[in-house]
């Protein structure tokens, strides 16, 4: 088997809650102690992304999806864990060493209104990365590349001297994608690229992403909360909850046989068009804040199947017979 393009093991990221120095002193059992609170955004994430596949990461707000994307891209350093690109470790590189990998990995952000510089024309936005990473190119060659690039994402090359505000949301997201493609990467992280778009426009952007994947054998890490898109687009799906991956499976397996209780609840909550779907599984309570590192399973508070063991020890990812892996004591014990 070939080496996976991206390999992540034991990734952790904690953000300090940034209380002022004075607020960190607490009275505990008659003594004054200094305590720092940390938000554990990622809690030991293991994932691999193969070449040419789309790995979708789904989960609710605050489960660490976006942090995962930013840590992989090197926009925030991880607290612990390792990230490999092919067989090179990339999480501890300095800016200069990272340069090569910046070309290979690109990102598309959620909000196309905020991720394009409003004071740069489309031409400037696209020429900057091309010229930066290919200093040997002449002005004429850059112009040519931009023209090809814009046409390939369905934007007329004549509008290259327009500013972002002159475009609609869908067009802006296509320009973002063109910017990511401009340095010919082989891995693109897309953080909720469709959530700001309307249904019909969403289809346009998603089609474009699939076309580009076929053309260039791109791999995507696609972060979203829209399960309908996931079902359509993903090769494999990772379900995240409170900084952990709780189920990882190929798309068809996950949608046909969801195993983790959280995945089951998530899938049942999709508002589908056909009227005869079952009632959604109701989860009690809401996602707890990840300030304290939880003891035991992260899902214990909302899980209908939780028992004593779930409160005491944290479940490990266990490979199932259908090649999916699930982190759940109930599945492991066959209670579910």
């Amino acid at each position: 088997m070939t080496t996976p393009l991206i390999q992540i093991s034991g990734l952790e990221k904690a953000f300090s809650t940034d209380e002022s120095w004075l607020n960190q002193w607490r009275l505990q059992q008659g003594k004054i102690k200094r305590r720092k609170d940390n938000v554990h955004a990622l809690n030991g994430v293991n994932l691999t992304i193969n070449q040419g596949e789309t790995l979708c990461v789904v989960g609710e707000t605050g489960c660490g999806k976006s942090t995962l994307a930013r840590v992989i891209m090197g926009l925030t350093p991880p607290s612990a864990g390792e990230i490999y690109y092919l067989d090179q470790r990339i999480d501890q590189l300095n800016d200069k060493e990272r340069m090569f990998f910046r070309r290979r990995m690109q990102m598309v952000f959620q909000n196309p209104y905020a991720s394009l510089n409003p004071r740069m024309t489309v031409y400037q936005t696209l020429s900057e990365p091309i010229a930066f990473h290919n200093p040997q190119l002449s002005r004429y060659e850059i112009d040519e590349q931009i023209e090809v690039l814009l046409e390939s994402v369905g934007i007329s090359a004549t509008s290259s001297d327009h500013y972002p505000h002159e475009f609609s949301g869908g067009q802006r997201q296509r320009i973002s994608l063109a910017r990511a493609l401009s340095v010919e990467p082989d891995f693109i992280v897309a953080d909720e690229p469709l959530s700001a778009l309307d249904v019909s426009v969403q289809a346009q952007v998603l089609n474009l992403m699939m076309d580009k994947q076929e053309e260039r054998n791109l791999s995507y890490l696609f972060i979203t909360h829209d399960l309908a898109v996931v079902e359509h687009f993903a090769t494999r799906v990772a379900v995240m909850y409170l900084g952990r991956v709780c189920e990882l499976a190929s798309t068809t397996t996950l949608f046909d046989y969801p195993k983790h209780p959280y995945t089951q609840a998530l899938l049942s909550a999709i508002p589908r068009l056909d009227s005869n779907t079952a009632q959604p599984i109701r989860l009690i309570g809401e996602v707890p804040t990840p300030i304290e590192k939880p003891i035991g399973c992260v899902f214990q508070a909302r899980c209908p199947y939780a028992n004593q063991r779930c409160y005491e020890s944290s479940p490990k990812m266990i490979l199932q017979s259908d090649a999916s892996s699930v982190a759940c004591h109930a599945v492991e014990e066959g209670r579910l």
Binding site: G170, Q171, Q202, A203, H225, H232, F233, L266, P271, E286
Partner: protein, 334 residues
């Protein structure tokens, strides 16, 4: 008699050089206890319609013509005082972002009590009891404690529940919900929709749900209005519209959903974008994007025709129906 009837409503935004028509010739009715949905993409005029019903359109927008009747009272000509009797008490509104609706510097309890006491003359204590009862009603745990908390102490789903409670305080006849679950996660969205549905059913409240998500609409509404560029293009029972859409725009909207194609296949996209108000195409506003457009569509605006239980504004459907009628006439003659 209809609870709410909107007829030939035109709303426009008056700018320096031109009038931009945001709503054109909108007519629909709402019966007591009925749940309808208004669907469309951004810029279709869904929210403007929601705001117009309670006359909340701010300048430079204004209601140009048409009438909005609540039972037999005309809402468009009311003065502010009369409107305030209607707003909240008869027609209540839920907005998209619960954080923007709640005042961040006033406790939840005080906001609820203020709502009650500005409409009815009762003591703070009685109002407090009503508020806590309504908080229980929307399944907020430890309502007595929540009463004294500030909005930032609650999660998004919880805040939306508080809003629903505040809307219920005065027992309105109609709730207008403008994208009530767009800012929420799927699991929370399912709960909030279920809550809205049971509340409307149990209390016989009519609901106008404004949404862009056809999945959400199919779960809640009995009847659906599809809007495009300020006009209603199709109206009918929700199931009918979802299973057998007539208007090319509705068809496109449904076909664009990822569920409609096999995984890995390209999605069916509607080419182009919704036109802006200033650049409304002549004739049927959908014709530049419509796969079936004819020269006639560029010049004339199609009127509503009935097709089954729904009504559609489209020449293609009209032609098809008349062909059918001709055929059956011939068969009868033969």
């Amino acid at each position: 008699m209809n609870l709410l009837s909107v007829s030939n409503l035109n709303v426009s935004f008056r700018l320096k050089h031109q009038d931009l028509a945001a709503l054109i010739d909108i007519s629909f009715t709402l019966n007591r206890g009925e749940r309808i949905a208004i669907v469309g993409e951004s810029g279709a005029g869904k929210s403007v319609l929601g705001f117009s019903i309670v006359n909340l359109i701010g300048k430079p927008g204004h209601i140009e013509s048409g009438s909005i009747k609540l039972e037999n009272k005309e809402l468009t000509t009311m003065n502010l005082r009369q409107l305030q009797e209607v707003r909240g008490k008869r027609i209540a509104m839920i907005f998209q972002d619960p954080m923007m609706t709640l005042n961040p510097v006033i406790t939840i309890g005080d906001q609820l009590v203020e709502t009650i006491r500005s409409h009815t003359k009762i003591s703070y204590k009685d109002a407090r009891n009503i508020a806590i009862e309504k908080l229980h009603h929307v399944q907020i745990s430890s309502a007595e404690k929540r009463f004294y908390q500030y909005p930032h102490e609650l999660s998004g789903g919880m805040r939306q529940r508080v809003i629903i409670a505040s809307v219920l305080l005065l027992n309105p006849d109609i709730i207008i919900a403008d994208e009530p679950t767009t800012a929420l996660d799927v699991t929370i969205q399912a709960e909030i929709l279920q809550l809205l549905l049971t509340i409307c059913r149990d209390n016989g409240v009519a609901l106008v749900l404004i949404s862009h998500d056809l999945g959400v609409v199919s779960k809640v509404a009995e009847r659906t209005l599809v809007m495009y560029a300020g006009r209603v293009v199709e109206e009918g029972p929700t199931l009918e519209i979802i299973n057998d859409p007539q208007h090319p725009y509705t068809q496109g909207l449904l076909n664009a959903l990822p569920q409609m194609t096999l995984p890995g296949q390209r999605l069916n996209q509607i080419k182009g974008n919704m036109p802006s108000l200033a650049e409304r195409p002549t004739g049927c506003a959908f014709h530049p994007r419509c796969p079936y457009a004819t020269p006639r569509c560029k010049q004339e605006q199609p009127g509503f025709i009935h097709s089954g239980e729904s009504s559609v504004a489209c020449f293609m459907v009209e032609d098809m129906l008349s062909e059918f009628a001709d055929q059956s006439d011939q068969e009868v003659n033969e």
